[in-house]
Amino acid sequence: MSQQAFEPKLVGFLCNWCSYTGADLAGTARMTYAPNLRIIRVMCSGRVDPQFVLKAFQEGADGVLISGCHPGDCHYQEGNYKALRRHRLLSKMLEQFGIEKERFRLEWVSAAEGAKFQKVCNEFTEQIRHLGPLSWNGGKKNE
């Protein structure tokens, strides 16, 4: 598969109140952005269980994005702080699994930031495109 033809598969866990609405805004505002991100809506970035992230990688994601409200703006007061703590620790652990930091991203996108969502999405896609596929196959018995 040539580098140009590689279309990263990205999974995004977006919080219902800010980022998902922000994504919605980007959409209603007719902003175009990379179609690579496949969005899973969660109520809060604090709901994102690291298992989901691992699962996404294992299922073949080349990058995972968690996006929530800006610090201090969480609809649930502090869910995004938990997301932050988990993200930092999980990134560190993922490196031990040979998964680059860049593939696992945390972004704050508010409901009003359609443009930022667009930017994040495009940037992330480009970054992963540059990094190449992860194509996780580790541990399958058919090695």
Partner: protein, 324 residues
């Protein structure tokens, strides 16, 4: 004599502690021997592979297999036993989850061989001899089992009926399991033969948790004098107890050591390490990016810590294999 059910014991990649656990049944082992007929136990009794091969399929009532599967030989043997047994019980953490040998999944065959045969300081191997699967000595071909890149838990190689968790499984659990098998009083297939709750359920220290758990500084057990009564997490020490299945009888806790997770996760949890990470990161006492970074920095080897016993059965199973 032939009335007695036939039982086999086998070990794969393990330390031998599980065998000891059997011995450790002490006089209870006499009751076991009285009740069953041990047909295969390479550690204790001189049976050959051919003896097993000679048995009828399904003639062994139950095979207790400990250790992870690391070599082709082990794969062959467990597959053979599976064929000959009515029930296969994964005995101990390594068979159950991959165990300590499973930590090798952070490397691959090549790097392990390189380390073991070349770079360890104690290695004296001037010719750079490395085990070969096939070699010719005096015109005769010799074969060694092949060494896998990845360590597997037992159920990743064969179908497993029950799991006896623990490194090593405690004597009560073994006795209960044997009892249940003998009485035919068995839970659904695939069960882990230990209560499906986390260790905190039984932990004496659970009541000492503060109203709000918040960890600012993470300490390793040797860095502090641990209070023998207070929850380890409340003391800033990583304890896998909340994410680990109970049933062990708090062996480590009573020895004033935090739980390291040998019993594996509860049924609802797929990935013990990730789940513990989620819980543990949540209670870090920091909202500020820098402070979070500072605390995370102090957690040495998170993967090794959270997946100490369960790497092969985790979602990712192993480190990414380069070039694949």
């Amino acid at each position: 004599m032939s009335e007695k059910p036939k039982v086999a014991f086998y070990w794969c990649a393990s330390c031998g502690g599980c065998e000891e656990a059997v011995i450790d049944l002490a006089e209870d082992i006499l009751k076991v021997v009285e009740a069953v007929d041990i047909v295969f136990w390479p550690v204790a009794l001189d049976f050959k592979k051919s003896d097993v091969e000679a048995m009828e399929d399904g003639s062994i009532a139950v095979s207790f297999i400990n250790g992870a599967v690391r070599l082709s030989e082990q794969e062959e043997m467990v597959k053979l036993l599976r064929k000959k047994s009515q029930l296969v019980v994964a005995f101990g953490t390594c068979a159950h989850l991959g165990g300590i040998p499973g930590l090798a999944n952070f490397w691959d065959k090549e790097s392990i061989f390189n380390r073991a045969y070349h770079t360890t300081p104690s290695t004296d191997n001037p010719e750079g001899v490395v085990p070969q699967e096939k070699s010719t000595v005096d015109g005769k071909e010799l074969y060694l089992p092949s060494f896998f890149n990845t360590v597997y838990a037992l159920n990743q190689v064969i179908d497993v009926d029950y799991y006896l968790p623990g490194c090593a499984p405690p004597r009560d659990l073994i006795m209960n399991a044997v009892q249940a098998i003998l009485e035919g009083n068995l839970p659904p297939k695939g069960s882990v033969l230990s209560p499906n709750k986390a260790l905190c359920e039984d932990c004496d220290r659970n009541e000492t948790k503060p109203e709000k758990l918040a960890i600012k500084d993470i300490k390793r057990p040797w860095e502090v004098i641990l209070d023998p009564e207070t929850c380890f997490l409340a003391q800033g020490v990583i304890c896998m107890g909340p994410a680990t299945r109970t049933g062990c009888g708090q062996r480590c806790i009573t020895a004033n050591m935090p739980c390291r997770g040998c019993f594996g996760p509860t049924d609802q949890v797929i990935d013990m390490g990730a789940k513990f990470l989620a819980a543990f990161a949540s209670i870090l006492d920091a909202d500020d990016e820098k402070e979070v970074a500072r605390i995370v920095e102090t957690i040495v080897d998170p993967a090794g810590t959270f997946y100490r016993f369960s790497l092969p059965t985790s979602i990712l199973r192993r480190r990414k294999l380069e070039g694949k």
